[in-house]
Symmetry: C2
Subunit: 498 residues, 2 copies
């Protein structure tokens, strides 16, 4: 969930300076028009890691837009009056009126996260709080509100150096509060519980946007663009019908660093290393699957990837390690009649392995947010809600002891072209390349956005995505096997702790 | 929530015999048409108290409709295979295909209720299960499913006599399973937790229908009518757009017993008894409000009622007992500009008392499901979702220690007419009667339905409705005061237990 926000997104000062004037003007326009309509209230929630630029961004938004229509609210410790009322009372009394924007700097999420991080309660109570905020937000959206939820993020390393550089600078050291230092100690907990909160409360009507906070130009421009996109969608959606406004993720623009562009595609293995490591990992997997601790678990591996990225070959190397009675390969093609007569997750539920078994999905439920999204086989509202539904689904799997491992096999455009051409030349491989493959290839940028959004929104602590640099097939196969082994052994180690 | 299902609803055999043929034909038609369209799956959940006719009703539905399109699923203890999979797997594998109806006899609700009743887990875990089923049902509805949730109910007394009469009848005694006897012992727990589950999972897209189970004609006809109503709505709602189908409650038909018709409107107090009891209860209230245990609580009293039912007079008798610094009266009229610029619950959140204080709402948030529903000031979808939103709201109040007491002051049509006419004659009371009052009176049947639905859906264990027989003002005033006192003292007694 935070992977994309730890890769060093940055925007050059020139780009920033060139883009800001038009963005500001458009934001002001949208703001005025919303105020004229007075049909929707805009609620902006600011959360995330200390030092990631939350305060600076809010300050900037107030400079960019007309502050008369913005109300910034901070919620620190509860006042006497607030303590004498139900918890939500403090938020209700600060709601912006329709046509205005309320920036909630600290809010119900900060409150529940602080409580959980400091051990005031356990997960079950955190889940009750999560559920309460879902109900609140759903109701607000049904009543016409538009909710933006921003999580400003830094990796642990980034946060530490940010705090350090502020401390060393006499002009800025006052900016660091004791809270900041405390959070640097509780970073791991904070991010782990934050991940649980984001996973469960990122819904189509009020999704989270995770913003990498290192570069001020990047974070400001991204927040500004998302706000603009959302406000313009809101203006287009009639508020009289209480239609819920959904904000789709922003498309990648030229020059953006993405998870995919960030991969080191030169990673490779020579033949000797490959053969040695492959055999080692295969033996390890074979042992793990037959381990008696496997009785309390099952293994689900999801293989997704670019066409011709080598999914089939990787799957064969996994299968080669195992007794056929222990695993099952499920190839996912277009749904059958029976499958079309059910919710889209049904065909996958049917194939979930019982304890002790291993199922390999050759393509998966992620088709919903990849091919179905890009090809328009389902509506935007459908794939937007699918992220939350898929997270719910995978949480049910992991709750029951299933280890879920998800692979994206990535190759670059040139490598794909080479492989397509090679396939066309080899008679027995020609069946592998169809017109569809060429058509998909033409939509490379749309697929790239879909893939990055998918990883951002469904790579969770309980079921993370592993991106595989697959230009070199040997490297890819060994990394796949090793990841499976690490995941199983981590699950076994956790059992021990209980 | 169960009040309406404990008043002895019954339908005469002749009425039943006269209505069933047309109902069956219409059900068959709807069933075929749904099967033709194959766009939606119909899921019927059967829950409730043992002995309330669950089995008989399912059997009957199979006779009435075409059993080829109905799949009845029972879920008892989990099989080995089910235990080796995630909890929801057993339900997914049994989902009916689009165009078919799946009757889930025993389902996720039975599972969580059994677990909670037998102490396998506490409320926080029950709430996690509740939240899980909400997510499941929301997703199914977004995917086009129509979900009917029936809770078959009997009062404790009714259940005991039902079981006894079956036992004494040699032809039927085999029908009673050990589970039935066990449930008669755990009745109170079962109904209490059932109430929590119903309160939290009755949502506009999948509301609960509570069916009184004593009279077989009544329960069969009611379930049949609700199914027909829902199926016909589903047929009218295009399934291609994944529009969620909402099923409004059935209107009362001539001769129906309702909570209102069931009140004994002759209840009255003579002058002496009244004066004595009034003073006693006022002194008691004054003591309770000044009690030091009040520091951990607040009191919210909601006054709703027919026009001219005597709300004002009752409120004055309450206020007369108290120091003006201790209470606050909030009259609710049409919303102001400021209030219109917020979600409808906002104006009430503002007026929630802090600990130690008492707020009297003269009309309230229930306007949403009364006047706004009847007069069409909001859309059906809005008032249908309001029941759940209001229950959430009141749960937040009670969770923070607020005692919520809700009064419906009921008078009959004749008494209202007398009072209207009397008011018109007395110059200083003339302002109390307007054209609006006469217009509302003309909509008596619509208001009756709205009132009964409101009580059915929002009278909860944590914030029950008290219906006040108000033809006699003395009786009404004393009952109001006594109810407030009982509620406060019950809250104080609970504190002690903690």
């Amino acid at each position: 969930m935070f992977e994309s926000a730890e890769i060093g997104h940055a925007i050059a000062k020139e780009t920033y300076d060139a883009e800001v004037p038009a963005l500001r003007e458009a934001l002001l326009d949208a703001q005025f028009e919303l105020h004229e309509q007075a049909g929707r209230q805009i609620i902006v929630l600011i959360n995330g890691v200390e030092g990631a630029g939350k305060g600076e961004t809010v300050k900037l938004l107030n400079e960019w837009m007309d502050p008369r229509f913005i109300e910034v609210r901070t919620f620190d410790s509860q006042t006497d009056e607030e303590l004498a009322h139900p918890t939500a009372w403090r938020y209700w009394r600060q709601l912006p009126a329709k046509g205005k924007m309320g920036i909630f700097f600290g809010n119900w999420y900060s409150q529940m996260l602080q409580g959980r991080v400091h051990g005031l309660f356990k997960d079950a109570v955190l889940d009750q709080a999560i559920n309460g905020s879902e109900r609140l937000e759903k109701m607000l959206c049904d009543e016409g509100a538009v909710i933006f939820k921003f999580w400003f993020h830094l990796s642990k390393q980034q946060m530490k150096s940010r705090l350090k550089s502020l401390k060393d600078d006499p002009l800025h050291s006052w900016r660091i509060s004791p809270l900041d230092w405390q959070q640097s100690k509780t970073y791991d907990k904070f991010v782990r519980f934050g991940e649980r909160v984001l996973r469960r409360t990122s819904r189509d009507y009020a999704p989270w946007h995770v913003i990498e906070g290192v570069d001020p130009y990047y974070r400001s421009l991204t927040v500004g663009r998302l706000l603009l996109e959302g406000l313009q969608t809101a203006l287009k959606t009639p508020h009289t019908a209480s239609t819920v406004v959904t904000v789709a993720p922003l498309p990648t623009t030229h020059g953006d660093v993405t998870l995919l562009s960030n991969l080191d595609m030169t990673l490779s293995l020579n033949k000797d290393d490959y053969e040695e490591q492959l055999i080692t990992e295969q033996a390890r997997l074979s042992g793990n699957i037959r381990d008696k601790r496997m009785r309390g678990h099952a293994l689900v591996a999801v293989f997704e990837g670019n066409d011709a990225a080598g999914k089939g070959g990787a799957i064969r190397r996994v299968a080669a390690a195992l007794d056929p009675r222990h695993y099952n390969i499920v190839p996912i093609a277009a749904p059958s009649q029976d499958e079309l007569a059910q919710p889209y997750l049904w065909r996958f539920w049917r194939q979930i392995p019982p304890k002790g078994k291993f199922t390999i999905f050759d393509r998966s439920w992620y088709g919903r947010v990849l091919v179905e999204r890009v090809e328009g086989f389902c509506r935007e509202a459908d794939w937007l809600r699918a992220y939350g539904e898929i997270n719910d689904f995978e949480e049910q799997l992991t709750d029951s002891g299933i280890v879920v491992v998800k692979f994206w096999l990535a190759i670059d455009e040139d490598t794909q072209l080479e492989r397509f051409q090679a396939r066309e030349k080899i008679p027995f491989k020609r069946y592998k390349i169809t017109d569809d493959d060429w058509r998909n290839r033409a939509k490379w940028p749309q697929y790239r956005d879909a893939i990055c959004d998918m990883v951002d929104r469904t790579s969770t602590e309980i079921a993370p995505w592993t991106l595989i640099e697959a230009n070199d097939k040997r490297w890819a196969r060994v990394k796949v096997l090793r990841t499976l082994n690490n995941a199983l052994e981590a699950a076994f180690a956790k059992d021990k702790k209980k």
